[in-house]
Amino acid sequence: MEQEKLNNIVEAALFAAQQPLTLPMLAALFHEEDGVGHEDLARAVETLAQTCEGRGIELVEVASGFRYQVREAVHPWVARLWAERQTKYSRALLETLALIAYRQPITRGEIEQVRGVTVATSIIRTLEEREWIRVVGYRDVPGKPALFGTTRQFLDYFNLKSLDQLPTLAEIREIADPDPQLALAPEPEAAPNDATNPSDPPADAEGAAPADTPSTTEDAA
């Protein structure tokens, strides 16, 4: 067998196998009449490893044999294939975010006063990590509590030009539960990063309910 064909078979086998392959395992793919020796196989593996140079994958030898693997350099991008969508935010987090939006600058203590319950530190941290809120200053009282405000990213995410585009508090109080048509100025484009997740169900999947109602009304009920 020509070395080139041999190389191709070894390449394909290494890519098709679910685990590393040793030289004897590779040798087992060939018939006697193929006339393939161990040196031929070793040469094939070496050639294939070389052709991976400067590419996104590499051919490496590990304890149980040879395998193709994704290079570390590109891993940060590749890993996004398995990006996991976190579970929905809690009601407490949404309330906190809303109060910060409408009452900024506001301290944690003030939020707790309105909500009647403690605001978990994790909620503040999550909102800060998402860069939706930030500390805009400190109140001049004992303990110097941080004052929180919303950010530009917050506006961007909800597709708002300014906070004025949010409904007034009076309007919000009138929102009826079953009413899906909230009189919002700009329809909150279902999250901007929606389409970008490969783990999202295909767009044509049946029952892809419009984002606006079901979960919300369940929560509110």
Binding site: A12, A16, E84, Y89, L99, V141, R173, N197, A211
Partner: protein, 289 residues
């Protein structure tokens, strides 16, 4: 139409290979092996020896398939099927079939009945006035055979497509690090507003907290101003205004300064009338940058 010279009745050995209709079996593959003997050919008519019945039933996908085979490969004249004989033979099978796959065999019986019906209708003289109205009784069967043949061929074509596992396989590389990237959940603005509504309702139950109408841009600007004053030093009053924002912007900023002063978040200083006004945040974090 009637003037057109049409071929008169001809025996439809239509699928005759060019080599001649007399030796159509030369390239037959063994159909099956019965009692150690290869079954090389299907009987010329529909008579199937009881011994081979099961094998035949398995070799064909049903009566249409069998009939099609007989027509295409054995040059059977469908007009010439000895229906009475076949029907009698089929009836004889019933006993045998009861121990076998009766539901499959039943379909062959139905076909025998169809053939018998066709035959009988062909034999009946038709009144001349019905000429051209009544369809040839064979037409429906022929249509079915043709339709079936197309999909039989389609199935064969699909079978020849290169397919995964048999002809192809996924090529995959190992991923050494399977650390999962977390993507934050999607938040619908409406959800947030509903949450706020509930808070407000709850707050009202507790009897404090009046809700008034106010421009939210002032609230936003309050935060911006506090950020600017975050270094804890004095800032010129004018430095907080952006001319490019126009009158409305100036008003918003001014209102925000008044709100901040009212909330005791900033201090406004003027050393003398008409002297520059300075502002300073009342509290800054020790760690502020």
């Amino acid at each position: 139409m009637s003037t057109e010279p049409l071929p008169t009745e001809i025996a439809p050995s239509v699928q005759a290979p060019p080599s001649g209709a007399e030796s159509p079996r030369q390239q037959e593959m063994p159909l099956a092996v019965v009692h150690g003997q290869p079954v090389l050919q299907i009987p010329q008519d529909l008579y199937i020896p009881p011994d081979a019945l099961e094998v035949i039933l398995e070799a064909f996908e049903g009566p249409l398939d069998l009939l099609l085979y007989l027509i295409r490969r054995q040059n059977l004249n469908i007009l010439d099927i000895p229906v009475a004989e076949i029907t009698r033979q089929y009836m004889d099978y019933i006993d045998v079939m009861q121990e076998m796959r009766l539901e499959l065999a039943a379909e062959y019986l139905v076909m025998a009945a169809i053939l018998a019906e066709i035959k009988s209708r062909l034999l009946l003289p038709r009144p001349p006035q019905e000429e051209g109205i009544e369809e040839d009784p064979r037409a429906e069967l022929v249509r079915r055979l043709q339709e079936y043949e197309r999909f039989k061929k389609a199935a064969e074509d699909i079978d020849t497509l290169p397919r995964m596992e048999r002809d192809l396989d996924n090529a995959q590389a190992f991923v050494p690090d399977r650390a999962v990237v977390k993507v934050p959940p999607v938040v619908d603005l409406r959800e947030m507003l509903l949450a706020l509504r509930d808070v407000l309702h709850r707050a009202e139950l507790y009897g404090h907290h009046a809700v008034e109408r106010e421009p939210l841009s002032v609230r936003q600007r309050m935060g911006d101003v506090l950020r600017k004053l975050g270094d804890g030093t004095f800032h010129r009053f004018e430095s907080l205004f952006e001319v490019s924002e126009g009158k409305l912007g100036v008003v918003v900023t001014f209102l925000s300064l008044l709100e901040l002063a009212k909330d005791r978040l900033i201090e406004i200083m003027q050393e003398a009338p008409l002297a520059p006004i300075y502002l300073k945040a009342l509290a800054t974090a020790e760690t502020a940058d």
